[in-house]
């Protein structure tokens, strides 16, 4: 089969599942069939994408195919594929993780009445995400970007009977929409300037056709979209709230794929972005700030999913920071490794939440006694956590090391320091979570039967990828990312500094939470004055947005409506009423006394006669 046909299969397999579920498998008793159809088809897509990866990765020519979607005298928009190495890797990652999560979801959602709706939405999401990844046109990317937003909205609000998911869903949609305005403006500006937004053109020629000033503004607007989707400060606060959705959704959408779309877009358009130094600096600062703030937020959190959500925000900021520092390879590499271990951590979180009788609190998980059946899960939790810390030899280490290496090579020593601090904090809060969760308490767990095999497979596969998967691909990746295949003194220094930092953080974490007699909840954070207050108020970001919505939008909308009712309508009504009043006045002449009329007639005709006689 041709590569294009394979690509078509891997892109549209999820969409076919979506159509089947939406239009054919509507009955209540078909809900499990619907789920199985979705899993099978997305499995097919994942398989085909892997085939594509192995067949195409050594090729340097991108696969392109497109049709004109819209055309007018000064512009043209395309829909189609652009499959180079970057999108190929991302495609495979998304397909595989989507398949794993869908497989896992069957266990997690099997008792939920809305399982059909769940699979319908999640296949739709997967399709949109996959198409976004391989889209040839920035406009096409925008289309799927928005569809991702919709799918995310629907899945966050999946349990819409409860008020919190509803609130979280609307918050997520509006905040990302706000960012999307920037992306749309950037797309439109590029269209106005270049008459096309095809990605091959943008990454080869755009920089030479635009002035640095124009590139700066376009990138800043574009980055606004990234800030919304990839939860960068100050548009990040929707992501922790988005944890109201089902846990597999958090695994797929709010950690591994959709939120990575923003970072992916930056990677995709890096040649364009790199034309503006100041824009790069701006991206760097926002990334570092986000990463730091989110890491601090995670320090004292008790909700396991929220810890993971903050760590996602922090890691996304880390990637953005790396891209801003020019190390796009490192950023992208980290995006790939992060996708695997973070989705695994979320799936495990789903498992532990289930065990702790549907409580997200890590301290209630600590009370659960884990039997032998849970050994695998606890072990995987540690694998994922240590990968998140960036400890050798896990996949997180590889990508983080790449970023640190690039930073050092680029002589960004300030950023290097910040990254080190973030890495320290990350290792601390992650192992805090892992220590507390894996404590063995007395409460009997909620595990009814042994876990189904497919669920174990999905989690273990992700664990395997975290453990050794990227080592297998390392030669190919090394070549693509231009990594150093041999280590010199600089690399060794780098390795020791980061590893010592991580080990130190794990030690601190062990001191507060790992020991048998540990009782602390917040660790050392309570010793720093003001910090816990700041964390409790979430750095006042939510206050700020609430203020914007209340004092901005709602106030203006009340004002507008007030104007409508009390000014415009009053004027309109007065015009009407004036007409009526004039009519009333005129009607008063009509007194109904015929004799009065005759008198008037006589007097008037008398005057007429007088005028006719004497007037001339």
């Amino acid at each position: 089969m041709s590569h294009l046909a394979l690509l078509n299969i891997s892109v549209f397999s999820n969409f076919v599942a979506f159509l089947l579920i939406t239009f054919f498998l509507k009955k209540k008793e078909q809900r499990f069939l619907a789920a199985k159809v979705a899993i099978t088809l997305s499995g097919l897509g994942a398989l085909v994408s892997c085939v594509l990866l192995f067949q195409r990765f050594h090729l340097d020519i991108a696969l392109t195919a497109s049709v004109t979607w819209l055309k007018w005298n000064t512009g043209e928009l395309l829909i189609g594929y652009y499959l180079d190495k970057v999108s190929l890797m991302m495609l495979t990652t998304v397909c595989v993780i989507s398949f794993m999560v869908q497989m896992y979801s069957f266990w997690y959602m099997k008792d939920d009445a809305g399982i059909r709706r769940y699979y319908g939405t999640i296949t739709f999401f997967s399709w949109a995400m996959i198409f976004f990844v391989v889209s040839i046109d920035l406009f096409g990317s925008y289309i799927f970007w928005e569809l991702l937003g919709l799918a995310s909205y629907l899945l966050i609000g999946f349990w819409h009977e409860k008020p919190e998911p509803r609130r979280a869903a609307i918050k997520a949609f509006i905040m990302t929409r706000f960012g999307d305005l920037g992306l749309l403006a950037a797309v439109i500006l590029l269209l106005v300037k270049l008459k096309t937004v095809a990605i091959p053109v943008l990454i080869t020629a755009a920089g030479t056709l635009l002035s640095p000033q124009e590139v700066f503004w376009i990138v800043v607007l574009l980055f606004l979209g990234v800030m919304g989707k990839s939860a960068q400060f100050p548009l990040h606060s929707w992501l922790p709230d988005a944890m109201e959705g089902p846990t597999p959704v958090s695994a797929l959408i709010h950690s591994a794929t959709m939120v990575a779309a923003g970072v992916y877009l930056l990677v995709r358009l890096f040649p364009l972005i790199a034309f503006s130094e100041s824009a790069m600096t701006y991206i760097l600062c926002i990334g570092a700030l986000t990463s730091l703030i989110a890491a601090v937020m995670a320090l004292t959190e008790k909700d396991m999913k929220r810890i993971l959500a903050y760590s996602t925000v922090s890691q996304l900021g880390f990637m953005v920071m790396a891209i801003g520092a020019g190390a796009w390879q490192g950023g992208f590499f980290h995006l790939l490794t992060h996708a695997f271990f973070k989705s695994m951590l979320f799936l495990l979180a789903g498992y532990f939440i289930h065990m702790a009788h549907h409580s997200n609190d890590i301290f209630s998980m600590a009370k659960v006694s884990y039997g032998t059946k849970s050994k695998l899960m606890v072990a995987l939790l540690w694998v994922g956590s240590l990968a998140l810390c960036g400890l050798f030899p896990l996949s997180g280490f590889l990508s983080k090391e790449t970023i640190f290496g690039s930073l050092m090579e680029g002589h960004h020593y300030g950023v290097y320091g910040v990254a080190l601090l973030i890495s320290f904090l990350t290792a601390y809060y992650t192992t805090r979570m892992a220590f507390i969760v894996s404590r063995n308490g007395e409460v009997v767990d909620a595990q009814e039967n042994s876990l189904p095999l497919y669920m174990k497979i999905s989690v273990s596969f992700l664990g395997l990828m975290t453990l050794i998967g990227f080592w297998i691909f390392l030669p190919a990746l090394t070549e693509f990312f231009h990594l150093h295949s041999e280590w010199h003194a600089e690399q060794w220094v780098n390795f020791f500094i980061t590893t010592i930092g991580v080990v130190l953080a794990i030690g601190v974490s062990y001191f507060y939470f790992g020991r048998k007699q540990a009782t602390s909840e917040k660790g050392w954070v309570s010793f720093i004055p003001g910090l816990s207050g700041l964390i409790e108020n979430k750095f006042f970001v939510d206050h700020f947005w609430k203020w914007v919505v209340d004092k901005g939008v709602y106030r203006f909308s009340r004002m507008s409506f007030w104007t409508d009712v009390h000014i415009i309508n009053v004027i309109v009504d007065q015009v009407g009423l004036t007409a009526i009043r004039c009519g009333k006045k005129a009607a008063a002449l009509q007194m109904g006394q015929v004799q009065q009329y005759i008198i008037t007639a006589v007097v008037v005709s008398l005057f007429v006669v007088i005028y006719l006689i004497f007037g001339k």
């Binding site: 007018w72 009977e161 509803r166 305005l181 439109i188 409506f561």
Partner: protein
């Protein structure tokens, strides 16, 4: 074979109306079928137009001349081009689904359908005739039945709404009539024939400026341009479902159609002079009306105001005076029509089942009536500009065109996208998601079956089709917008 296709489209509803007048009131099924057949014939006719139209040229096609009034320069000429064909199709879709929506009507059925068909005949007339005298005549024909429709079958504060709507529209058309007379005398051609006028007439710059603003405000009132928009939410909130659908979808776009057909086509210099005003009107309409929606409680008011907001996009697109902008404006006219009709149809259905339109009393609609709610949600998503549905294409083109003219107006128009997201999601959050309240009054099984959902399926399929393949519609418009802009 040379069928007088335009005459068929125009006369079918009139004939159906005449037939209905001879049927007894009790025989309501016959009345409904006659109305359905009449509108169905027009529907088929306009589908034929769409399929047979050669979009490479922008000339008037299928021109028919019935008669002329000698010495007065009044001719009854019918003809269509790429500007009117999509709107004829729109009118057909709306009246067909409007008649379908009204199948449950029980009160004074005969008059209702007669008036509805009269209204739509007026709308067809405006789109088909190429003579300003008959243009005006048909416009009035379309306005007057609305007064009765609101007054007799309306809800709420209907007398006030009906008076306001009718008087407003008459005031607007008064300006238009005044303009037509000036055109008649100043052009020096002594004719109302629009075709001749487009080819032969030329106006001095000063005259162009004056006439353009006259038509802009006159037609602008009809298309609910701020600050002449307040008739629209009140009127639509009170009108019966089918009437709101028709009025919001078709009559409102007739205003914009008039601006394009008469003002933009005849007065290029005037249009350039008043460009800033059109852009400002457009942006104000978008933002102001969207802000107004956010605090509304009544579903119909929400749709009514959002409708005003959409017309802002049309006005903005026209104001850019570029091909992309005009394409976008015309696309928006079509897509707005279908979307608003779908919204009104869904609201009408919900109202019929729940007997209330107040957001505070409606809870958990999605659980209670999933199918009916789905259509509202889908139309709402079109309204907030979701890609894949037609609203997005129009908004994108218009905003693109606006950016190519002015960054300031473009950025302001962008904000409208967030506001529309806020108001749509707010409604979904408060009334569609969640659990139905215990006091739920809806009878069991209120949800759609395929019969009641048919009009919504028809409407939505167009939204989806155009959202996925916008070129279908754009190819009609593209050539026409080049011709409209040839004087620029």
């Amino acid at each position: 074979m040379n069928l007088p296709i335009l005459s068929i489209i125009l006369l079918a509803p009139l004939l159906a109306m005449a037939l209905i007048l001879f049927v007894k009131e009790e025989n309501s099924r016959l009345i409904k079928s006659i109305a359905l057949i009449g509108s169905g014939i027009s529907f088929l006719g306009s589908i034929y137009l769409v399929l047979a139209y050669d979009y490479h040229s922008a000339e008037f096609r299928w021109v028919e001349q019935w008669f002329e009034v000698p010495g007065w320069g009044i001719q009854f000429i019918l003809g269509v081009d790429g500007l009117s064909i999509p709107l004829v199709l729109l009118t057909s879709i709306i009246i067909f689904s409007g008649v379908l929506v009204s199948q449950n009507l029980k009160f004074r059925v005969k008059e209702f359908f007669a008036l509805l068909l009269l209204l739509v005949a007026g709308a067809y007339g405006v789109l088909l005739v190429l003579d300003l005298f008959f243009f005006f005549l048909f416009y009035e024909l379309a306005v007057i039945p609305m007064f009765l429709l609101v007054n007799i079958w309306g809800t709420g504060n209907k007398t006030y709404a009906a008076n306001k709507l009718t008087l407003y529209l008459l005031a607007g058309s008064g300006l238009v009539l005044f303009g037509f007379f000036i055109l008649y005398f100043v052009s020096g051609l002594n004719t109302f024939n629009l075709k001749d006028m487009l080819e032969l007439a030329s106006f001095s710059p000063g005259m162009q400026k004056g006439l353009f603003i006259l038509f802009l405000i006159g037609f602008g009132t009809l298309s609910a341009t701020w600050p002449f928009h307040t008739w629209s939410p009140d009127g639509y909130a009170s009108a019966p479902t089918a009437a709101s659908m028709l009025h919001a979808a078709v009559l409102k776009t007739l205003g914009a159609y008039g601006i394009l057909r008469v003002a933009v086509a005849l007065f290029p210099e005037g249009a350039h002079y008043w460009q800033w005003l059109m852009l400002s009107f457009g942006v104000i309409n978008i933002l102001y009306a969207a802000l107004c929606v956010i605090v509304q409680k009544d579903l119909k008011y929400i749709v009514g105001y959002s409708c005003v907001s959409h017309m802002g996009i049309v006005m903005l697109g026209i104001g850019t005076l570029t091909q992309a902008g005009l394409n976008g404006a015309m696309f928006q006219m079509f897509s707005h029509g279908i979307m608003t009709a779908l919204l009104f149809a869904s609201v009408g259905y919900i109202y019929e089942a729940k007997k209330t339109r107040n957001l505070d009393d409606l809870k958990g609609l999605f659980k209670e009536m999933p199918k009916a709610s789905t259509f509202f949600i889908l139309a709402g998503l079109t309204c907030l500009g979701l890609p894949g549905l037609s609203g997005f294409v129009a908004e994108f083109l218009v905003i693109y065109a606006t950016f190519s003219v002015s960054y300031v107006f473009g950025s302001l128009a962008l904000l409208g996208l967030v506001l529309s997201a806020i108001y749509i999601l707010r409604i979904l959050k408060s009334s569609f998601w969640g659990v139905p309240s215990d006091k739920s009054t809806a009878p069991v099984g209120v949800d759609h079956n395929w019969k009641t959902a048919l009009p919504q399926y028809i409407l939505f399929s167009f939204l989806l089709l155009l959202g996925i393949c916008p070129m279908i519609l754009i190819q009609f418009i593209s050539q026409t917008s080049i011709v409209l802009l040839r004087g620029y």
